[in-house]
């Protein structure tokens, strides 16, 4: 259940990223973008990163103790209880 809800949240947020990037790319075509990183290249790199990170996180959450990851991330964010 946890993974399904997390995946829904991730997909909804990802949809927003896809739409905004698509619209911005469409509207900025007339500008000189030849020296810039292409939209197609960037979006595929971003998609790969998000899929990879989500898979790693899910595996970690599923196979290891949730509390351990939570504690580790809390430390990452500078939380000292």
């Amino acid at each position: 259940m946890a993974i399904i809800i997390a995946a829904i949240a991730l997909l909804l947020c990802w949809l927003w990223i896809e739409i905004t990037l698509f619209l911005i790319n469409k509207n900025s075509r007339e500008l000189d973008n030849t020296k810039k990183v292409s939209y197609a290249k960037f979006i595929w790199v971003l998609r790969s990163i998000i899929v990879l990170l989500f898979v790693i996180t899910t595996i970690y959450m599923y196979f290891f103790e949730n509390i351990r990851l939570q504690k580790a991330i809390e430390y990452c964010l500078g939380i000292i209880r």
């Binding site: 946890a2 809800i5 997390a6 829904i8 949240a9 991730l10 909804l12 947020c13 927003w16 990223i17 990037l21 911005i24 900025s28 500008l31 973008n33 020296k35 810039k36 990183v37 960037f42 790199v45 971003l46 990163i49 998000i50 990170l53 989500f54 996180t57 959450m61 949730n66 509390i67 351990r68 990851l69 939570q70 504690k71 580790a72 991330i73 809390e74 430390y75 990452c76 964010l77 500078g78 939380i79 000292i80």
Partner: protein
């Protein structure tokens, strides 16, 4: 020994070197929380001592950033970062041998100062000098994303290290790990060899500081960055407790933090990419407004598993995305030559915001028994920051514009 290198390779070398530097230094710095319990038990003191040392470390990063930034601009990013790495290694060695409360406070202060030397001000300055203007903000976003990844990759690794060997021994290993940065700091030296690094080199530090402080845009940008620090640290420190208070299932806290971390990496790249295509100051205004709207929605929305995780995803996107945009504006307005120092000054303001966000959050909760007031303060500050970014002029100052012609 002089090494001649193809100009096209310089940005890649500096981005890789800077990325690894931020990955390691962010990772080590954020691992310190893991030592709270073992060192507190070893010293037989309360948690306040370690808490104070950690707070001092954060403050030292803020104080050290403009100083190391100036050193970097004057003597080179490679040399400045090397000094920072040496301080981090010394700090870690000191921390591995703590015997008194003074030791832990001194070691953390040293680590903080060193972390400023191999942190964002020096690295972003080197990257800003090396890359061409077309992909500058994205490049700044890439190195920041590497730093964000470091936070989430190194910390669990350090946790295991403490379990396998003792906490003291793990700090020794961590200092070896920090030594990896020495190799990569060399890559930052190439930033001085790039063509774009020469712009603005005729100016002295004093003149650069005077120019920046007289600029309304720089002052507004620095004030806006204060709000970023306030938001990020308040949420980071108090969100887990807030989620616990809402009586949500246990797994929500873990997943919420994991999604913040995940989207933090994506968000930094996303805003870095957009910063090269749209107005950076408008993006910053949008970003701060979105944060406020997000907090506002979060206050009123019923707290379910899905809403909390959605909040975490969006918050992750907006988390450190301000960094490539803020540093990008500084480079556009003042040129890349003194970028490290000027970004360091803005970052100092960010750290003061961080301190206040963390402290006020706890203070208000203790006084009123809820986080409501601090959420509202965060909403107001976000909108104020958005408004402050509107008058920023995202164009080169006269001196730099003349040099570009």
């Amino acid at each position: 020994m002089k090494i001649s290198i193809d100009q096209k390779l310089i940005p890649i070398i500096v981005i890789v070197g800077g990325g690894v530097l931020l990955l390691v230094s962010f990772g080590i710095r954020h691992s310190f929380g893991l030592y709270l319990l073992p060192i507190t038990n070893h010293l037989n003191t309360g948690r306040e001592v370690f808490g104070f040392a950690a707070a001092l470390q954060v403050l030292m990063i803020g104080i050290g950033s403009p100083l190391f930034g100036a050193l970097s601009d004057k003597f080179g990013s490679g040399k400045a970062s090397l000094l920072g790495i040496a301080l981090v290694i010394l700090g870690l060695a000191w921390m591995a041998n703590v015997q008194t409360t003074f030791d832990i406070i001194g070691a953390q202060a040293l680590c903080g100062l060193g972390a400023a030397g191999c942190g964002t001000a020096v690295v972003l300055g080197a990257v800003g000098r090396s890359v061409k203007v077309e992909n500058r903000t994205l490049s700044l976003g890439i190195v920041m994303a590497a730093g964000s990844f470091g936070q989430f990759a190194v910390v669990p690794f350090t946790g295991y290290l403490i379990e396998i060997v003792s906490w003291s021994q793990s700090l020794v290993y961590l200092s070896f790990f920090a030594a990896i940065m020495i190799i990569f700091s060399y890559a930052l030296n190439f930033s001085e060899k790039s063509e774009s690094s020469k712009a603005g080199s005729s100016q002295t530090i004093k003149e650069a500081l005077k120019e920046a402080f007289q600029s309304k845009s720089f002052n507004l940008l620095t004030l806006g960055f204060f709000v970023c620090g306030f938001h990020v640290t308040f949420v980071a420190v108090h969100l887990p407790a807030f989620i616990e208070d809402e009586n949500l299932p246990f797994w929500v806290g873990g997943w919420a933090l994991a999604l913040i971390g995940l989207f933090n990496i994506v968000g930094t790249l996303y805003f870095g990419y957009l910063g090269d295509r749209l107005s950076k100051k408008n993006l910053l205004a949008l970003l701060y407004s979105l944060r406020s709207l997000l907090f506002l929605v979060f206050i009123f929305l019923p707290k379910t598993e899905l809403t909390v995780l959605l909040f975490a995803c969006v918050l992750g996107i907006l988390w450190l995305s301000t960094v490539p945009l803020t540093s990008g504006i500084i480079t556009v307005v003042f040129g890349p030559y003194y970028m490290s120092m000027l970004y360091g000054i803005a970052f100092f303001s960010h750290q003061i915001g961080s301190f206040l966000g963390s402290w006020l959050g706890g203070r208000i909760y203790d006084t009123y028994g809820s986080y409501d007031l601090i959420w509202w303060i965060s909403v107001a500050l976000g909108f104020i920051a958005a408004l402050m970014h509107m008058p920023i002029k995202e164009k080169a100052v006269q001196r730099f514009a003349n040099q570009q012609i």
